[in-house]
Symmetry: C2
Subunit: 233 residues, 2 copies
């Protein structure tokens, strides 16, 4: 029986959002049509962003423990609904018997053709890692980093979702987008899985948004559908 | 590190709903304040209700496999957000090193004092198992079973949620409640974890509802809070 492994809890609402999207993207008439998932919602993982920006506790050992846990239970594929954790993608992939989808690849692949300038909404750690900058430049797209004020709003938005204050997060995201829309960007990538949760509270956004949680879920269901484990909607 | 095991996938939206409520019921300022969970979203589990009512494939071996998987990964407590699966509670509990909360106990404990007649909204399998009837009678409460027409609406409501048709499920639940409200019941127990998802789509209900997903989540967080694993809101 195929089993999708999810290394989650970073944060927990983003993990639930990811699972919800996998379910919604699967064509199902009954429970048994849905994809089996083993979800390690490992909330006690050391903060990924602060490890990169401030040299705080390295989360790699705990991330590897999570990968081991999933592999011991025989998962066939792993998805990690946390962008910042992909700073450690190479060692996680090297450790895992099961393939691991790369959230940045799925997000960049979802950008419409012809976009020139893409804003990156992400944690300070993801920005410092350069994950999006290199993936965008490899496609000839110019990454646009938020200014200091917008970045403070984005960081506050992410923290608010992790603390369950989703309405406040929506307002902080709204402020950041109002600044970015003046910088001649075609699209903003929500390069942190907390941000789409804030975007749900936002209503209409002033610019096109790429949702990394959705793209990772879509890639997960597509991978499963190609192997006959489930059908995509 | 404490780890909450969830034997889920029955169905998957109910599992996501349960996780969401555990998160919302936990007092948290950051990821690390949230409860770690290992969620076995085992959607391919044979249909529990049809096993009871029609003698279809016995799900007990697969349920035991799920319990074993969670115990092998060292969970400290197990919650099963599926009422019908509790027909097999005794053998699951006998197999598990980790204690298992009983959803029917948590639901019946949540009934307000003084209620006399309680309607049971559940799968045909849960009704046939007598789980709620015996738990209610043990508290001196008269269980009220839906009539054949209302039960057809409830079964259709549950099936619609499992197929992702939540709005249709809300309409079917609404019809069932309109019938039950004429039968002098004080409260209806939503004794199937798909039904609260339909109830979200319903708006105001014509009678008081006890939500078994919510009560199981509350019991999970309370158990964790008593042991210092997390704080309840």
């Amino acid at each position: 029986m195929a089993l999708i492994g999810v290394l989650g809890g970073m944060g927990p609402l983003a993990t639930v959002d990811f699972m919800h999207r996998v379910i919604r993207l699967t064509r199902a008439r009954c429970d048994q049509d849905h994809l089996p998932m083993l979800v390690a919602n490992l909330t006690r993982m050391p903060d990924r962003s602060r490890a990169i920006t401030d040299g705080d506790t390295d989360p790699l050992p705990a991330l590897l423990d999570g990968i081991d846990l999933l592999n011991r239970s025989g998962v066939d594929l792993i998805a990690i609904p946390c962008n910042t954790a992909h700073h450690w993608y190479a060692p996680l992939r090297a450790r895992s018997a099961a393939p691991i989808l790369h959230i940045v690849d799925t997000a960049v692949a979802a950008l419409p053709a012809g976009v020139r300038r893409v804003a990156v909404l992400a944690t300070g750690g993801t920005l410092a890692s350069g994950l999006y900058q290199s993936a965008l430049r490899a496609r000839g797209i110019e990454p646009v980093m938020p200014g200091a004020t917008a970045q403070r709003d984005i960081a506050a938005c992410i923290a608010a979702v992790k603390a369950g204050r989703v309405d406040a997060a929506g307002r902080q995201l709204s402020r950041a987008l109002a600044t970015l829309v003046r910088r001649d960007v075609d699209v903003a990538v929500m390069g942190c899985t907390e941000i789409p949760i804030a975007a749900h509270a936002l209503g209409d956004a002033p610019l096109a948004l790429v949702d990394t949680t959705h793209e990772l879920a879509r890639a997960t269901v597509a991978y499963a559908a190609e192997r006959g484990w489930a059908r995509a909607v």
